[in-house]
């Protein structure tokens, strides 16, 4: 299941400065593990020891926050786009 993963800011540095990486996985967590295999440290940037996404990270599947889908277990389909972004304030 090939998925395009867009990363920004801090997370770009973990994947060698790339903005977009291609990865495989049937779920969000499998996708993260696939990237971890190539870029050690990627997983702990996003996920705590409890297996939950860090508070300050938002992962969007085709523009929708996966926390409101099935979180790390959210299912992926061929051609999906995933964006990993830091939590930011405005105002």
């Amino acid at each position: 299941m090939a998925v395009q993963v867009h990363v920004t800011s801090v997370i770009q540095r973990v994947v060698g400065g790339q903005r977009t990486i291609s990865a495989d996985g049937a779920t969000v967590i499998e996708l993260i593990e696939d990237i971890e295999a190539r870029y050690p440290g990627f997983r702990e940037t996003l996920v705590g020891e409890d297996g939950k996404l860090h508070r300050f990270v938002n992962i969007y599947l085709n523009d929708e926050d996966v926390r409101f889908l099935d979180g790390a277990e959210t299912q992926l389909s061929e051609g999906d786009e995933v964006s990993i972004l830091p939590a930011l304030a405005g105002g």
């Binding site: 938002n58 830091p86 105002g91």
Partner: protein, 316 residues
């Protein structure tokens, strides 16, 4: 709830009571109607007049803010402009901590109202303003910091004014969409709407930070404002700058509504939500009007022509 008056004693009395207008021409399906609440109709042209008034009223009432005391606040612009207006009306000097990557109009408006601007690094976004304001506040304990990110009068402004207005104008709404900045609008409106009707869904439109926030050193520098109660949300949709610009422009071209850049994101999030509904009514809160964004060229140039310039500007 803020009551409309015929002759206002001063501008503070004209905060709130904003109109709701049908923008269903932008809906992807005829069975779903979309309505826009025009917060640009507030005295300084943004939703932030509401929280500025509630935060200042409460601080005056309990003595945290004394006559003539200096007000300090971190802001990406609109809250500072609203506080500066109230400062003019009520006699408080206002200082704002703002990223140095905002549109020129925000700077000029703040100066017009007599506010002093302390710049924080643009590549840290609003998070950088928050950190700097905390330092400045510690150095100047004699100044009053309303602190919209932690002040419960921020969501309360929306609980007590924005939400009741929406319920009065559109009692049968199904879904509410607003932009995510401090989270105050979503939290206050969301709580009130769900008390009124627990089946109403609340969706946040979040700005895609693009390459702007390269200055963040770690994700721990991410920031979730304490006033933001994420449990009121049923969904969060991220919208990139290109799409926000396109929808902001389309909003003007198709409905005549001249709104700020975050409004494009909110309308886009409403369209995505509409696609998943069979029928119903969506209320979008459009946080400000378009005047402060004219210098961006958004209504006169294509996004491709602007891309390099807009990537370095903080829009919310």
């Amino acid at each position: 709830m803020i009551q409309p008056v015929t002759v206002a004693a001063n501008l503070a009395d004209l905060v709130g009571g904003t109109p709701l207008v049908d923008i269903s021409v932008l809906s992807p399906k005829p069975e779903v109607q979309i309505y826009a609440k025009l917060e640009g109709a507030n005295p300084t042209g943004s939703v932030k007049d509401r929280i500025a008034r509630f935060m200042i009223d409460a601080a005056e009432a309990d003595g945290r803010l004394e006559p003539g005391q200096t007000i300090l606040e971190p802001t990406s612009g609109n809250t500072g402009i609203a506080l500066a207006m109230l400062g003019s009306v009520r006699g408080y000097p206002v200082k704002v901590v703002m990223p140095d990557a905002v549109t020129r109009e925000r700077v000029e408006l703040l100066e017009a109202f007599g506010a002093e601007i302390i710049y924080s690094p643009g590549d840290l976004g609003t998070n950088g303003s928050v950190q700097m304001a905390e330092r400045v506040s510690a150095e100047h304990p004699e100044w009053f910091m309303p602190y919209q990110y932690e002040n419960e009068d921020n969501p309360r402004a929306h609980y007590e004014s924005t939400a009741p207005e929406i319920i009065a104008d559109m009692p049968d709404l199904d879904l509410f969409v607003a932009g995510l900045g401090t989270g105050g609008t979503l939290t206050g409106v969301g709580r009130r709407l769900k008390e009124y009707n627990p089946t109403i869904r609340v969706v946040a439109a979040a700005p895609h930070p693009g390459d702007l926030v390269q200055g963040l050193r770690s994700l721990e520098e991410g920031y979730i404002p304490p006033v933001f109660d994420e449990s009121v949300l049923d969904g969060r949709i991220v919208v990139d700058s290109s799409t926000s610009f396109r929808l902001t422009r389309e909003l003007t071209e198709k409905t005549g509504v001249f709104a700020g850049v975050s409004s494009g994101s909110v309308v886009r999030a409403a369209q995505i939500a509409a696609q998943r509904m069979t029928s119903g009514k969506i209320v979008c809160l459009l946080a400000d009007n378009g005047w402060k964004y004219l210098s961006s060229g958004l209504w006169t140039h294509t996004y491709e022509e602007l891309e390099e310039d807009v990537a370095t500007v903080l829009w919310w």
